[in-house]
Point group: C2
Chain length 110, copies 2
DNA sequence: AATCTTCATCGTAATATTGCTATGTAAATA
DNA sequence: TATTTACATAGCAATATTACGATGAAGATT
């Protein structure tokens, strides 16, 4: 045990979970915030912004990239990381949909 | 190591991370989806919906509750779990804000 | 070519998560 | 009161995450 049973959920549920999980660490939220602020950046910049060692930041960036939240292109000696709008859009529309459904349903029990 | 360094991030970053982490598992996404569908429910119903044993579902519900995503009130012999609109609203506005900033910035490098 | 810079990867230890069975608790029912 | 029902908790094993220092890879600089 310890492994998630991804087989039994819908593709959408697994997709949202993967994206949410990637943002389930404050360092990765901080990375996204920073990428948004500068709109482009390299790993070294982020290392200076975070209270983490370079390999740890590199690892967090890898996880964000694996989840599809950021894109990274090698550019000579540096790497340009950017936010993937599609992934953020997915999350935004997912939560917007929940909000809509919640306001439409006002026969709450709690 | 293995423990997250929450001290060094902003309160907002930690808050988003806590909420996102709670949704970082497909079972918990499925629980939220189901709660939204029925708008009120008890744990037993969810157990029938998920491919997990009752204690595991109970644990996931606890994590959702600890993160503040759902509210649960004891009602006699059953427990009524509902989505906390405020938490969903926080996530929705966070991602909406990112979307807005992304469309305003079109001088991307990637 | 030797070195520097920038980032990735390897190997690791500490801690957290996932999921289960067994058991506990407390209200409802027989 | 004994039993059932509905959920929580305890305790465990398997796996995942977090973070680091050491090292590797590859373009840039001297």
């Amino acid at each position: 045990m310890g492994a998630t049973k991804t087989d039994h959920y819908t593709e959408k549920q697994n997709g949202i979970a993967i994206l949410a999980k990637a943002l389930g660490h404050p360092a990765r939220v901080a990375i996204v915030d920073y990428l948004l602020k500068v709109d482009a950046c390299i790993c070294g910049d982020i290392v200076n912004e975070l209270p983490l060692a370079q390999p740890t930041v590199s690892q967090h960036l890898k996880e964000l990239k694996n989840a599809g939240l950021i894109k990274g292109d090698i550019d000579g000696n540096t790497i340009c990381y950017c936010i993937d709008e599609k992934a953020i859009g997915q999350l935004q529309s997912y939560f917007a949909g929940i909000c809509t459904k919640l306001t439409n349903k006002r026969n709450n029990c709690c």
